[in-house]
């Protein structure tokens, strides 16, 4: 006989409805909380833990000897030497200035920068064979941290460093199809071996800013390299762009603004291809005047202007300032690469890589894999695509124009080498007051049929005379790679 079903009449059950509802509410709330905790641990924990405010990482250093950073061929770029009888540890950088900015430094007082900072957790984690760890535990020895294998190529980096010479500037070389960064050099540089002793001097050197990574953080006017973006916008807005013609007589005026071609050269009758190859300012100012500005801005933002850039090192956002209310003068200036536009060498390399890779920008990365200190692989990174920024037809067309730059245009110094090259040169004015001061740019890629390397170079503050500085430096770097 079931008495209990009788003891709860329907009134009771209805009365308990609210109790049940309240129970469900709180249970669901707690399930949400647990879900959030799991999400935090899986997705966000690593980012949070790497924050510079986290003192725990310093504590890891008490039990672990910081791991090494090596290039793709195993050359040591950074390591901790345990010396002396007291087991004192010093961080050594065998290549000194060459890798200063991309590897960064790690100091207990000054903090960490570059890859030393990004991979801090890995370098202070030890995946040594567990029996060895056990042994070390008992003999109270420190374990050795894991080794970070980068995608960098020490020979190429050295070549880039040498090629830049005494110029201030930056160079970056990437693999077109994978997004690996093979070299990243910024000058003037500093010796991270002496970072502590040179610190106050380095910080107060405002003229040279040696601590600045010019590749990722340098914001420069793009100069004629920006014509790539203008061309793409023109192609998207005019489907009969192959029939574009312009008669260049060395200058163009609109209202009270006059734009001159470089050195006042009159390029004569041009189509889009020759405008691009000759880097004709007048032609491009003309193109700019005919563009719908909202779509122009959209094209620039498709190419990641005004947006965060992918990659592990903090990169400055590039800026494209035109909108519907811009004056014609501003439009003409921006179309040919001046105006308020700013861009970093890193971003230019990403754009070149997108063109070389058929329109798909790959995720740039610096860390090839992580191994334990004896070399057994723990984790490997694979190439990933980041975003399709243009169609493959558009990319192929731009590739053709960039080839023309080397074949018949301003980049002809790269012709006739053991490799084929394509790209865009640029001369960006940055000061009208102090005489004509310009930066020299080059961005491009090699092996046009099946793009191999992507390169982006800038040299600061050349005078107008040696306009091909960056492209010559690029040539030297590429020669070192291929020969």
């Amino acid at each position: 006989m079931s008495r209990n079903s009788g003891s709860k009449d329907s009134g009771e059950r209805v009365r308990n409805k609210e109790f049940a509802r309240v129970t469900y509410f709180f249970v669901i709330l707690f399930i949400a909380l647990m879900g959030y905790l799991v999400y935090f641990m899986v997705v966000r924990a690593k980012l949070v833990v790497n924050s510079p405010y986290n003192q725990r990482q310093d504590a890891y250093a008490d039990t672990i000897i910081r791991g090494s950073i090596v290039d793709k061929n195993g050359n040591v770029l950074a390591q901790t030497a345990v010396g002396g009888d007291d087991g004192s540890e010093t961080r050594e950088y065998p290549y000194g200035e060459v890798f200063a900015h991309v590897i960064g430094y790690s100091d207990s007082k000054l903090g960490t920068t570059g890859l030393e900072s990004v991979e801090n957790f890995e370098l202070l984690t030890s995946n040594a064979f567990f029996l060895e760890k056990l042994q070390n535990e008992f003999s109270e020895k420190k374990n050795r941290g894991d080794t970070v294998v980068t995608t960098l190529d020490a020979n190429l980096q050295q070549a880039a460093y040498d090629a830049l010479g005494s110029n201030k500037g930056a160079a970056i070389v990437m693999e077109a199809s994978t997004g690996k960064i093979l070299a990243m050099v910024s000058k003037p540089a500093y010796d991270p071996n002496n970072i502590l002793s040179d610190w106050s001097e380095l910080n107060s050197d405002e003229e040279n800013s040696p601590l600045l990574n010019r590749v990722t953080q340098g914001s420069y006017a793009p100069g004629s390299t920006f014509k790539v973006v203008t061309t793409l916008a023109f192609m998207r807005q005019n489907s009969d762009y192959p029939n574009y013609t312009y008669d260049c007589n060395g200058e163009i005026s609109q209202g009270d603004i006059t734009i001159h071609c470089f050195n006042g050269n009159a390029h004569g009758s041009e189509d889009l291809r020759s405008s691009f190859a000759n880097s004709c300012n007048s032609s491009f100012a003309n193109i700019g005047l005919g563009l719908d500005l909202t779509q122009y801005r959209q094209t620039a933002e498709d190419l990641l202007f005004n947006k965060s850039l992918p990659g592990v090192l903090n990169a400055a956002k590039s800026s494209f300032a035109l909108d519907q209310n811009s004056s014609e003068g501003e439009v003409m200036m921006t179309a040919m690469g001046q105006g308020k536009t700013t861009v970093s060498p890193y971003h230019m390399a990403l754009i070149a890589e997108a063109v070389a890779n058929g329109g798909t920008m790959m995720q740039p990365y610096l860390v090839e894999s992580v191994t334990n200190y004896t070399g057994s692989q723990i984790r490997k990174n694979v190439p990933k695509s980041y975003k399709k920024v243009m169609t493959s037809d558009e990319a192929a067309q731009l590739k053709e124009y960039m080839t023309a730059v080397v074949e018949e245009g301003t980049g002809s110094v790269l012709k006739g080498r053991s490799y084929t090259a394509a790209g865009k040169t640029g001369t960006a004015e940055y000061s009208m007051s102090d005489g004509e001061k310009t930066h020299s740019w080059f961005m491009g890629f090699t092996n046009v049929d099946n793009p191999d390397l992507v390169i982006s170079v800038i040299t600061e503050g050349s005078d107008g005379s040696s306009s091909g500085k960056a492209v010559a430096i690029a040539g030297d770097i590429l020669d070192a790679y291929y020969n």
Partner: protein
């Protein structure tokens, strides 16, 4: 214990007075006036007032759920909350508010009250945000603890570092760094635990707390006395909401408030009041068992009485053909007896008839004064058999 539900205004008065004392006289401790010292002992009254508050609301709503009474109750509850807000104990204020809201909703069964309460709460939160600077600080710290690091964001930041560094299995006991976590023994105990014992351990801890809560509400649902139901609901909500505030705050799920994790954090007042809460609910559980046992006993008695009455009528009809006086004596015994089948009883009756016939004098009246020895184990067996079947049904 029915006097408890009549002391409505006693609870309110004592609770309100205790809170006022804290607000006016206590030492300012870490930005919130939370406790005062009596000699060597430091007392945090808001922990105990929680219980008085629940009793007050339960008693008041048990009396009547008409609108007028609801208004009066709300006014007094609001007074409690306001005193707490003014003494800047926002965590306790929030707990009181939510407990009251839920008890009101369940007692009146009007979802409108819940919605209106939530709306009022949001409105009050917005007003409070603009009025009090420390609320602004807390919200800014919640949104981005690293940006607001030096202005209170460091608490959540260190808490997140601890949780992140612990990983799934923790760093191991004694290997974490709880000294980098501010207020690690009380308000941020969850992070310290996750760091050393791992996230899996603390997820299980959360499940334990939730299961305690579900049991509390289960007891509440099983009770019949409405006052006790409300008390169980109120205390259960009090407990679980405090757990939620603690864990949600340190994990950046919600802004951080200064509440402890019941039974886990260090703190005498918190421990004592949580023990009292659990004790009260355990007492209610026993009351429920007693209530049920009492109910069932009464129902059985009723049914037995009915059966006896029907059998009596039968036997009266039968006994008219039988002149033995012993049989009428046995009717009295039958009334006391609780039995399953009629046949067994008739057989036993015949046995007794025979024994009585074999020479006992009728003057001895043994059958009425006490049960015969053969009867007692039979009764006991039958009761055991019955409780076993009851358990199955329950």
């Amino acid at each position: 214990m029915t006097f408890l539900e009549n002391w409505t205004y006693v609870y309110a008065a004592v609770g309100g007075a205790a809170l006022l004392i804290v607000a006016l006289f206590a030492a300012t401790l870490g930005g919130a006036k939370l406790s005062f010292n009596i000699g060597p002992v430091s007392l945090q009254p808001s922990e105990f007032v929680k219980i008085l508050f629940v009793f007050f609301v339960a008693a008041s709503l048990n009396k009547s759920t008409e609108f007028k009474n609801v208004v009066v109750t709300t006014a007094i509850a609001a007074a409690h909350v306001l005193i707490l807000v003014l003494s800047t104990d926002l965590g306790a204020a929030l707990i009181f508010f939510i407990v009251y809201l839920i008890m009101l909703y369940v007692a009146t069964r009007q979802p409108l009250y819940a919605i209106a309460g939530v709306a009022a709460g949001c409105g009050a939160a917005v007003i409070g945000y603009h009025l009090f600077s420390h609320i602004k600080v807390r919200v800014a710290a919640w949104q981005d603890p690293f940006a607001a690091y030096s202005e209170g964001g460091y608490q959540i930041a260190q808490s997140l570092f601890a949780i992140g560094s612990g990983g799934w299995f923790g760093t191991g006991l004694f290997r974490g760094q709880p000294d980098t976590i501010p207020v690690a023994e009380t308000d941020l105990i969850f992070s310290a635990m996750t760091e050393e014992m791992g996230l899996i351990f603390t997820l299980c801890l959360i499940l334990v707390c939730v299961s305690c809560y579900v049991m509390f509400l289960n007891i509440a649902m099983e009770l019949r006395n409405f006052f006790y139901k409300l008390v169980a609901l109120g205390l259960g909500t009090c407990y679980i909401f405090q757990v939620f505030l603690q864990i949600g705050g340190v994990t950046k799920f919600i802004p951080l408030t200064g509440v402890t994790l019941p039974f886990v954090s260090y703190g005498g007042s918190s421990l004592l009041s949580t023990m009292i809460m659990f004790g009260i609910i355990q007492g209610l559980y026993i009351v429920r068992e007693d209530e049920e046992a009492e109910e069932e006993h009464q129902i059985e008695m009723q049914r037995a009485r009915q059966r006896n009455r029907s059998r009596q009528n039968e036997r009266r009809r039968q006994s008219s053909s039988n002149a033995k006086s012993g049989r009428s004596r046995q009717d009295g015994r039958d009334r006391r007896r609780e039995y399953d089948g009629d046949n067994r009883d008739r057989a036993r009756q015949r046995e007794r008839d025979l024994r009585n016939e074999s020479g006992r004098t009728t003057g001895k009246k043994t059958t009425k004064s006490r049960p015969r020895f053969e009867d007692v184990p039979e009764q006991r067996q039958q009761r055991q058999r019955r409780t076993r079947s009851e358990q199955r049904v329950r």
